[in-house]
Subunit: 461 residues, 2 copies
């Protein structure tokens, strides 16, 4: 039977298996969830094995483990390397979840009349990663696997894949492939399949501003001593100008400027500004002058404060000048901006603008390079044909604002192209409370993926 | 025997009684400490009674209770109203205390070779308030009380004395007095007794900036949507200019400008800038251009962020654009600045500078008027003579940067002057971790206070 029939026959089991995986709170950022990380890795390994993988193994790293498995049917045939991750973002703020983040429930929504699975990681990336495991199960069960396949499912994507580079270098031969296939992005809509052709890089830093050596009474000292919170707000505010351009010297030096043709082509992607504003409840959009919303969140770099804290944040009032104030700041980068170079530029600039009255420390967290790929490659064509088979229409090439730092790492390490075949929607609230993944999207992914294997193998022949 | 001999005889008991009071975590800002607030009020009432007060009663308010007690020896004699408070500031950040804030310990320090009592509230204000209870005990025990006395010890000073005005209006006759005596301020040093002749007012507000209706992925939305933390930092930064002057329109309209003579007189108070910087570990002072450190923290208004929070503040990294960001902001005001008017100016201005892309809410917390008093009054002279008796030198008149919002309220309600006779030191770390109060200062206060009663009664005769 074909993949559609197989999915229809087994869909209830597929959903229940995913729900079991989603019950595990595999939060890589929080060291108190180490045991859950191990449980999630084990469940992925078990599922790969029962789907038909050989050489399934959980490889420890200095951080969280990588799960590997493969099926080599003929060394002369091409090999697809599937990448995904079993770790998830922290669920905070917990109070805003309608149901507990690790107690998955299926609820119907306007966009998902067939129901969506609500849980942290439902879309990013457990649900999308698991589509590949089930697509592989189908190809094995129906004797329909046209080429070799390898799985590399890691546990540190949400914390910058810190130890993946070492793993890849140590096991380069084992991971050798002809194409890297990833579902960790979105599609424009259920009616508009899309292939992500660009990703932004990332530089994530934490800053600490220290004023007095202890908290001070804001009456006795106020006005005479630098308040590290006031100073921090002034330093952060100065990082962007009135046109919302980043003021760090050299920040834009290597930013790729797209041609009018490219920008016009981007503008053709279906987009409704009013719906966009309504969907997130904002009175107006906000960003770099001279660029559209879709350009601002894809081909332009950013500087966002992801967290800030200092002083008294409890109930009521405390009249204090705190000793310290902190912020977590991330910059999304575009192709050609080197994340390590940008991190250095940030550190140098941020330290240089600190007044004598405070001390400043900048701690780099992690980062990754941006990525962009042409649409005339065999790999892209194979993915496009797969979408044509199951959606009846060609995919729209799309630049995403998100970052998958390891993509450019892969392309260098394996000298092969990456295909980002996403089935999630922007409205799935990944990284937010009430993250969910449409049941239709999950099943459609399982149905579509085998078509990529078929077309890629044919085009490579 | 005189007060010095009495103090020497009973000092161990005095210290142990204070330590028992300090063991009670009477944190008025935190509703989870309601029971401790009641315990503290009860202990104060019991001590007033055993010291010799009549009509001791704990008066409930809509917030925390007020403890009252009095001794009327002759209606034709003047009456001293002693004001103090039994509530304390929250002890956060707990991690910075060398010993638990509510487990008092006595340790020697360079400034306090006779030892200092370390505990939250040791100086502000349990220790200084209790000096008056023990001074009263002495005058009763030694038949040395020259006039009438009333005690009004409240439990909401650290949260703005919200319900004290109602209490005063309801019991105006009961509280009638000829002078209000308060020890809730400091002295310049153990060698330089001082009387506080000015206090700053206060306006305390909390602001909330809302961007999107939910937390967003900073990759998918970053650059296109207003980040409420970035916006909050820009809004707060804009409240002060490059000279550290506050930019709120009308903010300085009513600020009292001191004459050159007055500023020269202030400059005579002993002060060492290097010691000041060293004592709080700062590389440089920071404040309004054109004013000295002692002017900046006493006769000039301020704007300090006392707390800020938003986004992900846990371990590791989370790439999120939060829905909301918050800050607690307090402004210290000078005489003639009306705190309610300033709060309105802040609210109007802060809302006006918010971009279309966010919503802003400003919640006024509490506040109070500034205060300044002449030094040629009978009240001031009585206090000065008391210091001459026990310190052998005249007190230095001092403008304090702190706020005791109820002082101006008292003067209006009772039409009597307030004397701020402080025995704490700036180095006592009130409102900070490791707050302490010198044993010498505590005992010296008990010794000095009865002299005020004597001189005030004589001068009034």
């Amino acid at each position: 039977m074909n993949s559609r029939a197989y999915v229809e026959k087994h869909q209830d089991r597929f959903i229940n298996e995913l729900i079991n995986l989603l019950k595990i709170p595999s939060i890589s950022a929080d060291s108190s969830y180490k045991a859950s990380m191990k449980d999630a890795a084990q469940m992925v390994a078990d599922q790969l094995e029962s789907a038909g993988c050989d050489r399934v193994k959980i490889y420890p790293t200095k951080g969280h483990a990588v799960v590997f498995g493969e099926k080599i049917i003929d060394a002369s045939l091409p090999t697809v390397l599937v990448y995904g991750h079993y770790d998830v973002q922290p669920p905070d703020p917990l109070g805003l979840w309608d149901s507990p983040p690790f107690k998955p429930v299926i609820k119907k929504t306007d966009i998902h009349p067939d129901g969506a699975i609500f849980a942290r990681g439902a879309c990013d990336d457990k649900g999308q990663m698991y589509m590949h495991v089930k697509a592989f199960e189908f190809m094995m069960a129906e004797n329909d696997l046209p080429c070799n396949v390898k799985f590399m499912i890691e546990g540190e994507e949400e914390v910058g894949s810190e130890h993946l580079e070492d793993f890849i270098n140590e096991h380069n031969a084992m991971l050798a492939n002809d194409v890297i296939l990833i579902s960790d992005t979105g599609m424009i809509s259920k009616e508009h399949p899309s292939i992500t052709t660009g990703l932004r890089g990332l530089s994530y830093v934490e800053v600490e501003v220290t004023g007095p050596n202890r908290d001070l009474h804001s009456g006795l000292y106020g006005g005479a001593v630098a308040n590290p919170i006031n100073i921090l707000t002034q330093m952060i505010a100065s990082l962007q100008d009135e046109n919302n351009r980043i003021t760090i010297p050299g920040f834009y030096d290597k930013v790729e400027e797209l041609s009018k043709e490219e920008r016009d082509k981007m503008a053709e992607a279906p987009f409704n500004l009013e719906q966009y504003k309504q969907s997130i409840g904002i009175g107006d959009v906000h960003g770099e002058k001279g660029y559209t919303t879709n350009e601002r969140n894809s081909i332009r770099p950013t500087l966002d404060v992801n967290g800030i804290w200092g002083g008294y944040i409890g109930e009521g009032a405390k009249t204090v000048i705190p000793s310290k104030a902190f912020a977590k700041i991330s910059m999304r980068l575009v192709p050609n901006q080197d994340w390590k170079g940008i991190t250095e530029l940030f550190k140098t600039h941020f330290e240089s603008i600190a007044p004598e009255s405070v001390k400043v420390e900048v701690k780099p967290h992690h980062g990754g390079q941006g990525y962009v790929t042409p649409i005339d490659s065999i790999e892209y064509q194979a993915a496009d044909k797969a979408f044509q088979d199951t959606f009846g229409k060609s995919a729209i090439p799309l630049r995403s604002g998100g970052s998958i730092p390891i993509v450019s790492l892969f392309e260098n390490a394996f000298n092969s192209k990456t295909i980002l075949m996403g089935f999630g929607l922007d409205t799935d609230a990944i990284h937010s409370p009430n993250e969910h993944f449409g049941v239709w999207n999950f099943l459609k992914g399982i149905e579509t993926i085998p078509h990529f294997y078929k077309h890629f193998t044919a085009l490579k022949a």
